[in-house]
C-alpha cells in the first residue's frame, strides 16, 4: 500500500518535472535540433549561386578535408582554443578556491563579472589599445627604457588573441569552477588532510574528482567558443588570425555555398567532440574521474601516513 502511494507520488513528481522542462526542450528541438539536422542534410547537397541543389554526395567533406588552408585553420583554431581554455581554467581555479574557502563575500566575483557589462567588440578594441604598437604596454616599456622598439609579438599575433580571449572567458570559467567547488565541502578537504594527504594529493584525489564536471565543463566551454571564434583572431591575430569560423562565414555570406559551409561546420564539430573524448580519456587514465579512485596498497598508505606524521 505504502509502496503504491510512493509510486503514485513519484509519478506525479516526474510529470511535474517534465512539464517544467517541456518549454526548454521544445525550444531546443525547434531552434537547435531541427536546424542542425537540416544543416547536416544540406552539408551533403550542392549549391549554385545561393541556391541549394539536392544532389547528395560527400564532395563538400572531401573538398574541405583535402584543402590545406582548411586544415591550417583547424590547427590555428585548436591552438588558440586549447591555449585559451588551459590558461583561463588554470587562472580561474585559485580565484574560485579563494572565493569558495577563504572569503565570506562575493566581492571579488562581482569585480571579475563586471567585465561582462561591456560589449565583446569594445573589449577587443580595448585590448588593441593596450597591446598596440603605440599602446599602453609598449609606450610604458619604451618610456621606462626597458625596450628600444615596440614589441611586435604583443599585437596581431596568437599571443594577442589568447590574452584577449582569456580576458573574455575567465568570468565563465570562474563561475563554473566556483559552482563545482561548492560541492567540495571543507569537511572533505579536512578529512583528507587528517588522513595525511598532502595539498597536491587533496587536489588530485578529492577536489578534482568531485568537481570533475566543473573542470571539464569550464575547459570545454572555453575551448569550443575560443576555437570557433573568428572575430577576435581577425581583429587581433594579424596574418595568422584566420580561423575556420571565417572560412565557414565566407561560405554562407560571400559565396552563398551553404552546403560547403555546413560541411566545414560539422567537421569542426567532430574535431571538438574528439578533443572532448580525448580530455575525458586522459582524465580517466590518470584516475582523476569520479568513480575511478586509485587506492594504493596498504603498505604504501602506511608509509605515506608515517611520513606525514614525521613532517
Amino acid at each position: 500500500m505504502f509502496a503504491y502511494a510512493k509510486t503514485l507520488r513519484d509519478n506525479r513528481r516526474e510529470r511535474t518535472g517534465v512539464l517544467f522542462a517541456l518549454p526548454v526542450v521544445l525550444f531546443l528541438i525547434a531552434f537547435f535540433i531541427v536546424p542542425t539536422v537540416l544543416l547536416f542534410v544540406f552539408s551533403f547537397w550542392q549549391s549554385r549561386s545561393f541556391v541549394l541543389v539536392p544532389d547528395a554526395s560527400l564532395t563538400n567533406y572531401i573538398d574541405a578535408l583535402t584543402r590545406p588552408a582548411f586544415r591550417q585553420t583547424i590547427l590555428t583554431g585548436l591552438t588558440i582554443g586549447l591555449g585559451t581554455a588551459t590558461v583561463a581554467t588554470v587562472l580561474s581555479y585559485p580565484v574560485a578556491w579563494f572565493i569558495a574557502y577563504r572569503t565570506r563575500t562575493n566581492l571579488l566575483l562581482y569585480i571579475i563579472m563586471l567585465s561582462w557589462f561591456s560589449s565583446y567588440l569594445v573589449r577587443i578594441f580595448a585590448w588593441r589599445t593596450i597591446l598596440g604598437t603605440n599602446g599602453l604596454i609598449n609606450s610604458a616599456l619604451l618610456s621606462l627604457g626597458v625596450i628600444d622598439a615596440p614589441l611586435e609579438i604583443l599585437i596581431f599575433s596568437p599571443l594577442a588573441v589568447t590574452i584577449t580571449l582569456v580576458h573574455i572567458f575567465v568570468p565563465f570559467t570562474l563561475l563554473l569552477l566556483l559552482s563545482a567547488l561548492r560541492n567540495v565541502t571543507p569537511d572533505f578537504l579536512a578529512a583528507a588532510r587528517d588522513l595525511g594527504a598532502s595539498r597536491m594529493k587533496v587536489f588530485f584525489r578529492v577536489t578534482l574528482p568531485i568537481a570533475y564536471k566543473g573542470f571539464v565543463g569550464s575547459f570545454m566551454f572555453t575551448f569550443i567558443l575560443a576555437a570557433g571564434d573568428f572575430i577576435t583572431p581577425q581583429l587581433l591575430g594579424g596574418r595568422t588570425g584566420i580561423t575556420t569560423g571565417l572560412l565557414i562565414s565566407n561560405q554562407f555570406r560571400q559565396t552563398g555555398n551553404w552546403p560547403s559551409g555546413a560541411a566545414m561546420a560539422f567537421i569542426l564539430m567532430a574535431v571538438f567532440l574528439v578533443v572532448y573524448f580525448v580530455l575525458v580519456q586522459v582524465l580517466r587514465w590518470f584516475r582523476l574521474s569520479p568513480g575511478l579512485r586509485f587506492h594504493p596498497p596498504v603498505e604504501e598508505l602506511r608509509a605515506e601516513m608515517a611520513q606525514a606524521k614525521e613532517a
Binding site: 549554385r48 588552408a69 591550417q72 588593441r128 604598437t133 603605440n134 596574418r239
Partner: protein, 385 residues
Amino acid sequence: MKKAWTIDEIKSAMGGAPSRRQLLAGGSAAVAGAFMAPFFPGMARAEVGGRLKLLAWESMPMQSYLAPFLEANGIDLEISSIATQDDVHVQLIGNTPNTIDVTSYSVGYSDFYINELGIVSQMDPKQVPAYNEDDIFAEFYMTPAFAQNGEVYAVPVIWGLNTLVYNPALVPEPASYTDLLKPEYAGQLTFIEDTLATWPMLAKVAGFGDKFPHLTREELAATFEAAIPYRAQSKLFAGSVGDTINLFVNGEIGVLFCGWAGIPTETGPQGVETIAHTPAEGGAMWCDAWFIPKTATNRDTAHAFINAQLTPEGNAATANHHLSGCVNRRSVPLLNDEVRASVDYDNLTQVLTDSPLVGMPPRESDEFATFDEWTAAWEDFKLGF
C-alpha cells in the same frame, strides 16, 4: 476632406458613447494590430514620410547633408551599416529577408543582384525625375549596370577610384606597386576585405588588369602567385573600411594596398594624415548605385530619398561629402574645387575607358575562374598557401 477627428466627433459619428463591449473589441483590435503589424512587412505606405530603413556603408553619415530634405518630408532615417557588400545580400535572400527600403550595390554586383538573386525591384522613373537623360552623364544613364530591358533597377549616385592609401609619416610615397616590396614597407602593408577593390588591383599588379574579371584559372593562379611577395610585406588583413581607418589612426599600418580613396577624410579629423595615391599601375574604379529591394515597404519615400541625392544640388553635396565623382553634369559647377579637380569631367568618357567600371567574376563558368574560385584563392592567399 476631413483631416483629423476629435474624440467628440468620433463619438458623435458612432451615434453616442461607445458601449463597454465596443471599447473592449476596439482595444483588442488595436493591440492585435500592433502585435501583428511586424509580421506583415509587405503592407506599404503610399506617401513620402515616416520611417525609412536604409542599409548604407558604414562611412556614409548622410544625415548631415540630407537634413533639410529629411526634415521637410518628416522622414525618420533608420540606418544600418554595411562593412562589405556581402552584408547587403545576406539580409535580402532566403525565406525571411529583412525589410529594407533603400540600399546600394557596387556596379560589379548588378547582374548578380538583379538577375541571379532577384532581390532588386524595378523603380518608377517618374518618381526619380532627377535621373534624366539631359542631366545625367551618358556613362551613368540607363546602362546595363542600372537598367535592363527598359526597366530601371538602380540609379548611380557617386563613383571614384579605389586606390593605394598611405601614411606619409610612416612610409615614403610609392611610385609603383613594386615599391611596396622595398624594406621600408615591411610590416607596414595591409590588405582589406573589399574584394571589389583588392581583386582587380591584384590582377593589375600581376599584369591581367585588362582581363579582370574574366581571368582563366591559370591566370587566377598566376595573379595570387605574383601577390605572395606583397603578403610577406603585410602585417594583417583589415576586416572593413572602418577597421582600416582605426588601424591608420592607431599607427599600426602605413599603407593600404587598395581601398576607398576617401579614407583620408576620416583619418584627418582624428589627427592622422593619410594620402590617397594612384601609383603607376592605376586604381580600380567603383560606382555605388541605390536600389529599392523587393522587401521595401516605404517605396515612395525610398524614391524621394534617392531622387534627393540626384538633383544637381543633392548630387554635388553627396559627392563633396564623400570626395567622389558626381553623376549629374549640372552638379559639376557646384562641387568644391578639390573634388572637381579630382576628375577630368571634360573627358569623362576617356577617364572611364582608362579605368572602366568592372564587374565581379562569373558565378559559373567553364572558361573563366568563378567567384567561388576567386574566394577560395583569396582565402588561401591570406593563409599563406
